[in-house]
Each structure stands twice: as C-alpha cells, then as structure tokens.
C-alpha cells in the first residue's frame, strides 16, 4: 500500500482558486453564448485572482511543506503569491478595457485567421471580442503561483511550462500590427523552449549528482560533499533557465522584441508578474537547495547582475520606441534585483531576501502603471509607441503626462517614489554583504538609466507637439482603476514604505 501524500488544501487555496477559475473559464468558452462570455470571463478571472490575493493574506504566517514535500508554503511564497495575484488582477483589468480601441479590445478576434487576409480585414472592425485570453492568463498566473511555491525541481519545471505556454500564446494575439505580434510570439516560444531545455538538462545533471529533485535533499547532498563538476554544471544550467525568464542579460535578447510585439496589456502582465515569479524561483533555488554551495553561484550572479545593469542601461539610451525602452529598463531592473539576491547571506542573514521581495512589489506596480499609460496614447494605427509622438504631451494632456512622469521617476529611482525605496533596500542589502563594488556599478547604471527616463519627461514637457500627434484616449473604468492603484501605490511606497518593508522583512524566512 502506498500512502497518500499529505495535502494541505488550505495552504494551497490561492493556487487552487486561480487554476479552478481557469478550468471553469475553459468551460465557459465551450458552452456559454458568445455575448455573455466577456462579462462572465472578466468576473471569473477577477474572482480567481482577487480571491487568491485574499487567501494569501488569510494564510499569512503559515509555514509548512506540503504535497509530499513538493510544495513549500512559507513567508516568501505567500508574499510573492500575494504580489503575483494582486498584479495579476490589475493586469486582468487592463485586458478588460473596452473603451480605448475603437474595436473595443486589444486582442485579435480570431488568432487563427491569417494576418492580412480578406477575412482578417473584415474582422478588424467588428465589435466582437475574444475571451480566450482570460483563461489563458489565469493559467499563466496559476503557473506563477506554483513556481514560487515549488520545493521540487520537477514541479518547478512543470510550473515553468504552465506559466510560459499561455504567455507564448497571448503574446501573439495583438489586434493591430498582427505580424509583429506573431513574430514576437514565435520568437518568445523558440527561445523559451531553448531556455527550458537548459533548465531540464540542468535538472537532469543535478539529479545525477545528488540523486534527488527535492530541494531539501539536494541541500543535504550539497552540504555532505561540496559537489562535483556534475552538480556545478547542473546548477549553472538551472540558473540559466531561470535568468532567461527574468530577462537577465545575456539571456535577455527576446525581451525587447517580445515586449514590443505583444499586446500592451500582455506586456504589462509579463513585465510585472513573470519577473516576480522568476525571482521567487531563483531565490528559493539558490538559497534552499544550493545555499551550501554559495561559492559557486555567487560570482555567477554577481557577473550577471553587472552585465544586466550595464546592458539594460546603455542600450536603453538609444531606443526610440517606448515599449522597447521599457524592455531594456526591465533588463536593467533585473540586474538591480540580482543585486538584492547577492545581498542575502547563505545562513539566512542579511536583508537581501526582504529587499528583493520589496523591490519586486515596487517594480511590478510601477512598470504595470507605465505600460497602462502607454495604452492610452494612440494614433490611427493603435498605440503610439514612438518617442517622437510623445513630444509635447504635457501640454495636450497634463494629467496623462504627469502620471507617466511619476512612473518614469519611480523607475529612475528618484526619492519619494517607490523606486527609490526599493533601490535603497537592495543596494543596502548588497553593501551589508560586502558587495559594495556591485552597489557602485548599480549606482552608476542608475545614473545612466535615469537619463533615458528623464528624456521622456523632457520630451513630454519641453518639446513642441508634433503636428498630427496621437490622441490621448479617455480610459474606461478598468484602466482608471489600474492607474489610480499603481500611481497611489508608487507614491505611498515612496513616502511611507514602512508597513510593506516590515511585512517583507517578517516574511523573509524560507521553510526548509
């Protein structure tokens, strides 16, 4: 008789809520009449994500390993799950916006119709909306929630795929500029598969070296013998797979193309939530499983942080498309986040874990808000992403420009915004661990990056508007909520970050 593994359904309730909502969503797609699908799907998706958010709050303080040791529900898991679920709910709101695009949705009606065909031209002006994105997004969110809880390399891999596959799909569903969107999806898929293969290969090598895929067993094996070539190579490949998802240079090459091509609400979702999930997994893998082999991965993360910060900051300088610019910004921020990862001692000392988690919250909120503003500024052909089109926006639409400026200042790390407190926390954590050269590079990179964020602000306020410039759409209720929440949070976390920092500090203990 094989004993059933213990299963704490309460501890897994956030996960089950989201995946359950996703499954019901599939049934709704199958059986509900077309005209009720949109409200039902949005309601379902919001119920799932908000429910998961509330569930994580109710679970606060839980520390257990469940599902036969495959899943860990502890402080970092719950904190990051709450972050993902919250940001996920905001992304769903962006998906649900219906008053900006004349055709009432950012998503293509029928993704299978070849772009540019007569049928496609016919569909582009219809008022029909496509609702498959909601269950797909829910599956992705479910995968992310699983990813940060995974205490087992195989589960981690399954979660990686569950979160990635829906993302590949919805990247290709832009209503306008469809070829660009489809190209982005294919690139993302091919490179994602490539990275997954590395992860899987690393998994196999680590299994070969240690005889287990459970993080706890791996830790014991690593502690017992300091690990041979097999283990070290396996660790390297696992990290590569995760760094890809976190868009850390030199594994970032997909980021600009995909961010630019994907529908903007999806880009916002990827930028905010995927980063949180990837860093959650990186932290757990490195500290729970390989904490004893710190000497092997610390130089690696150190170097990746430096490369990522420099590449993101320097290449961001020459971008002329806002989405591409924010993509390089995402690469630079991945480097800053790795600075926080360095700021965590192997013994669990140091504030790096809390700092990184706090940074993820601030970065997620800010970048989500910035992309939400991007959806507002449009010309006849969809969103107006070219930098030159934003010239003089401050005169035409002061409120939009002001909100965008707030987000850009936060991304640049100007004090009194969330970006500053986040940066301050991770740099401090790194310095505490003696990594002050890293903090110096990070400061220099911040200074360089500040230049391209501020350039946009200068352009908005100090340039003459272009003749046939874009129009600024009036957002409907969903986008308004997103903008209000993210802008308020960006300011609040800049001025009074105490409560959230404190929460992150108390949550920052991994359960074995």
């Amino acid at each position: 008789m094989i004993d059933a593994p213990d299963f704490s359904f309460a501890a897994l309730s956030p996960l089950l809520l989201v995946l359950g909502a996703a499954c019901i969503g599939v049934l709704v797609e199958a059986f509900a009449p077309r005209d009720v699908r949109h409200p039902v799907q949005v309601g379902l998706a919001l119920t799932g994500t908000v429910g998961a958010f509330v569930a994580t709050l109710l679970l606060a303080g839980t520390r257990e390993v469940t599902a036969g040791g495959a899943l860990a529900v502890d402080g970092p898991t719950l904190f990051l799950q709450a972050t993902i679920a919250g940001l996920g709910a905001l992304s769903i709101l962006l998906f649900a916006e219906r008053s900006l695009d004349p055709a009432r949705s950012a998503f293509v009606v029928s993704a299978a119709v070849p772009a540019g065909s007569p049928r496609d031209r016919e569909l582009v002006t219809t008022q029909r909306v496509q609702t498959e994105v909601y269950p797909l997004a829910l599956f992705a969110i479910g995968g992310m929630l699983l990813f940060v809880a995974a205490n087992d390399l195989l589960v981690m891999f399954v979660a990686l795929e569950v979160l990635s596959l829906p993302l590949y799909l919805i990247s290709g569903m832009a209503r306008r500029r469809r070829l660009l969107s489809q190209e982005a999806a294919v690139k993302y898929f091919l490179l994602g598969a490539f990275a997954s293969a590395f992860f899987l290969y690393g998994l196999a090598l680590v299994y070969g070296a240690t005889g287990s895929v459970r993080l706890r067993d791996i830790r014991e094996a690593v502690t017992a013998e300091s690990g041979g070539v097999l283990m070290v190579l396996g660790l390297g490949l696992l990290v590569v797979g995760l760094l890809f998802k976190a868009s850390v240079a030199p594994f970032h090459s997909w980021t600009p193309d995909v961010y630019q091509g994907a529908p903007t609400p999806v880009t916002a979702f990827m930028a905010a939530c995927t980063k949180v999930a990837a860093f959650g997994a990186i932290l757990r893998l490195l500290y729970v499983a390989f904490g004893a082999a710190e000497w092997t991965w610390r130089p690696l993360i150190y170097a990746a942080a430096i490369i990522s910060m420099i590449v993101g900051a320097v290449l961001g300088l020459t971008q002329t498309d806002l989405k591409r610019m924010l993509a390089y910004s995402s690469v630079a921020h991945a480097g800053f986040l790795l600075t926080g990862v360095i700021g965590f001692g192997a013994g669990g000392d140091g504030s790096g874990l809390a700092a990184t988690m706090f940074y993820l919250v601030t970065y997620g909120l800010t970048t989500l808000g910035a992309f939400a503003v991007l959806t507002l500024v449009r010309d006849g052909d969809g969103e107006a992403g070219h930098l030159s089109q934003w010239a003089g926006l401050g005169a035409r639409s002061p409120l939009t420009a002001a909100v965008m400026s707030l987000f850009l200042l936060a991304l640049a790390g100007i004090p009194l915004t969330a970006g500053f407190t986040g940066k301050f926390a991770v740099f401090r954590a790194a310095i505490e661990q003696g990594a002050w050269p890293l903090a110096v590079v990070a400061l220099l990179a911040s200074a360089v990056a500040a230049f391209f964020y501020l350039r946009v602000i200068v352009l908005m306020y100090f340039s003459d508007p272009v003749a046939d410039g874009p129009t600024v759409g009036v957002p409907g209720l969903p986008t308004t909520i997103v903008l209000a929440v993210t802008a308020t949070a960006t300011l609040a976390l800049g001025i009074l970050p105490g409560a959230v920092l404190d929460l992150a500090g108390r949550a920052a203990i991994f359960v074995g």
């Binding site: 008789m1 094989i2 049934l27 059986f31």
Partner: protein, 120 residues
Amino acid sequence: MLSTYVPIVGLFALAAAFALFSVAVAPFVGPRRYNRAKLDAYECGIEPVDQPLTGGRFPVKYYLTAMLFIVFDIEIVFLYPWAVANDALGVWGLVAMVVFIGTVFLAFAYEWRRGGLEWD
C-alpha cells in the same frame, strides 16, 4: 553515484550495436522479391505526394489532429501505471486520476464545442 547509470549506457550500446548490425547484414542475407504493395510507404498514412497540396505547406488541421493524439497518448501514459498499481494506490489514486481525466476532458469539451474536431 554515476555507477547507477552503467546498465543504461550498456543498454544504449547494445541497442545501437543491434541496429547497426541489422542494417549492415540485411543486404547480404535478405531475399529480394519486390511487388507493388511492397514498394508502398510502410504501414499507415496517406500516399506521399511530391508537392504538398497548398503552396508548400501542410494544412494546420493535420497538426491539430496530431496534437489531440498526443494529449490522449499522454493520458494513457499516466493511466497505464495507475491501472497497474491501483490496488496499492487506493482511493487517493482513484480521486487523483479522476481529477486528471476531468481536466483533460475540459480541454476536449472546449475543442469539440469550438469545432476543432470538424475537418472542414
């Protein structure tokens, strides 16, 4: 640790040797009596054509069918060991399997309702 894998490596070597041996030996020992049926494509499938029907590409329908096939194939991969170990797994195993089949059927229902099973 690594010594655990020695039998697997041995198996791979055996398999490779057998395949090479068969291919190498067949031209010398095999009888050669051809007829029309024997020259056809082996076993199932459609008659191969020089040029695919629509401008160098296969219709996406083939891939859809192939993917459906793989989904059920995987389902069987899981069902088979469960069936073998059903006694040991007990009620827990049964519930888990029902949930698994349920989720696969969810996707199947979606495919069916949205016309994925219709050829044209």
